[in-house]
Symmetry: C2
Subunit: 302 residues, 2 copies
Amino acid sequence: MPILVVGSVAYDTVETPFGQAEQVLGGSASFFSVAASFFAPVNLVAVVGEDFGEEQLAAFRDRPIDLEGLERTEGKTFQWQGKYSLDLNSRDTIRTDLNVFEFFKPKIPASYRTSEAVFLGNIDPVLQREVLDQVEGPRLVACDTMNFWIDGKPEELRELLRDVQVLLINDAEARDLSGEWNLVKAARAIREMGPRTLVVKKGEHGVLMFTGEGSFAAPAYPLEEVFDPTGAGDTFAGGFLGYLASTGEVGDPALRRAVIVGSALASFCCEAFSLDRLLTLTREEIEERYGLFQRLTRFASL
Amino acid sequence: MPILVVGSVAYDTVETPFGQAEQVLGGSASFFSVAASFFAPVNLVAVVGEDFGEEQLAAFRDRPIDLEGLERTEGKTFQWQGKYSLDLNSRDTIRTDLNVFEFFKPKIPASYRTSEAVFLGNIDPVLQREVLDQVEGPRLVACDTMNFWIDGKPEELRELLRDVQVLLINDAEARDLSGEWNLVKAARAIREMGPRTLVVKKGEHGVLMFTGEGSFAAPAYPLEEVFDPTGAGDTFAGGFLGYLASTGEVGDPALRRAVIVGSALASFCCEAFSLDRLLTLTREEIEERYGLFQRLTRFASL
């Protein structure tokens, strides 16, 4: 089942306690696409500027990632610069140059319109809606958003959520969207807005998922070196949705496995700057780490 | 296997977003003892003042908690007053009156000296050492501490830790004790100090345990109402050690089950003020919640 993803492709400059990476490939759609491509074909919808080079494109080539929807337009590619705190749990945005992303109007190639799964990356909910309307009866629609849209375009977002099956956001966003501090209450409120499945990403504290069958808790993999967490959330989403698309299942057991696949991919993402680790990753390594998640969490009956 | 516990018995005044409780039973040894008593006999070593009433003692009666080591002395019982933030993730201590606890010199009754398991609650490591030295060859020694002792009596604590098998502390304490931000690195450093098992309590984010067999991650139970988290950590420790003492096992599989038992008890603790929920709790309810932890965390192989 091919997945249509719309989001950002960017140049990131990132400083962590371990070093600095300048002008490296970033953006939600980049991390998502590469992660998802381990499991399913990806149709990428994004925009880059004239400065986006062959080297960056190479990250997408030799993978089942279709680039017909990657628009190249006059101007410069979206640039983001951030600096992480010593504990990597918070980061300051030092610079955001939207550049060509500021006027991004996603254009969906005809061949993408039959994509059966859709991931609406974190962009203006008005654009997310426009994209969704151009896809013919997708079987699975997943979505990300952020406080900027939750607070700035609440009605547009609410309208969109009615047609979303899986919402993937972090804990602060879940609280903001629902107005509830308690995540169980937040989940109930959000699931009533439309998404029957809510995946709450908690960074180093793992993931809480709420479905019609109840809740599922998965830890983050306890890495000895968290080198750079940039893109981990989008990588999680790519692994999660890629795995689901590959199985064609959307029941609670498949959703749980998808959370672990996403968590495994996100843990690899944190091991290096940019997409560096994802680009050397193999399917065998993903499966091996999935097994480590089983060892990490298993316990017997009383 | 009876457990000797040394720690505080106190009167707590607690304010949470849900209400206030005045002068209710608290203290690390209180929560620990009642939690552990579901599984194993407890020998309680603590001190109270003349104001400690029959009503408070009732919490310990009708349970396998021996009170010979609960010293009553001239003066008032330790009092603590705290106020929680709206999200219950931080709290301010408004008042600490040590009272009789200030000059606490644990006296171990002769009948307690053969206790096979020992829990050294969060008190001065010099006192923890004195208690430990009065027990004859315990099979299992577990310990709690806090930043106040990590920073204030580092050598005394280090000396103690050489004889401790299980250290139960929170994430901030693990970082402080080891000087490492990363918990995997922190665990390695701390395990080299003595405790072969390190249990890192992360509050609403659950528990990470490090043993000779690797790491184990358990979530906190996603409660819809966290009414009052006071005592949850000590309740966890009581359930954890009580369960281990009841089985006599200390291998990795038993330690994992003990983490879940402790987490189940801690989740009940948070449902009401003071020990109120623990005092109405049944063994069947604990086993039922253990089953809910299995449902919360299980996922199939790929």
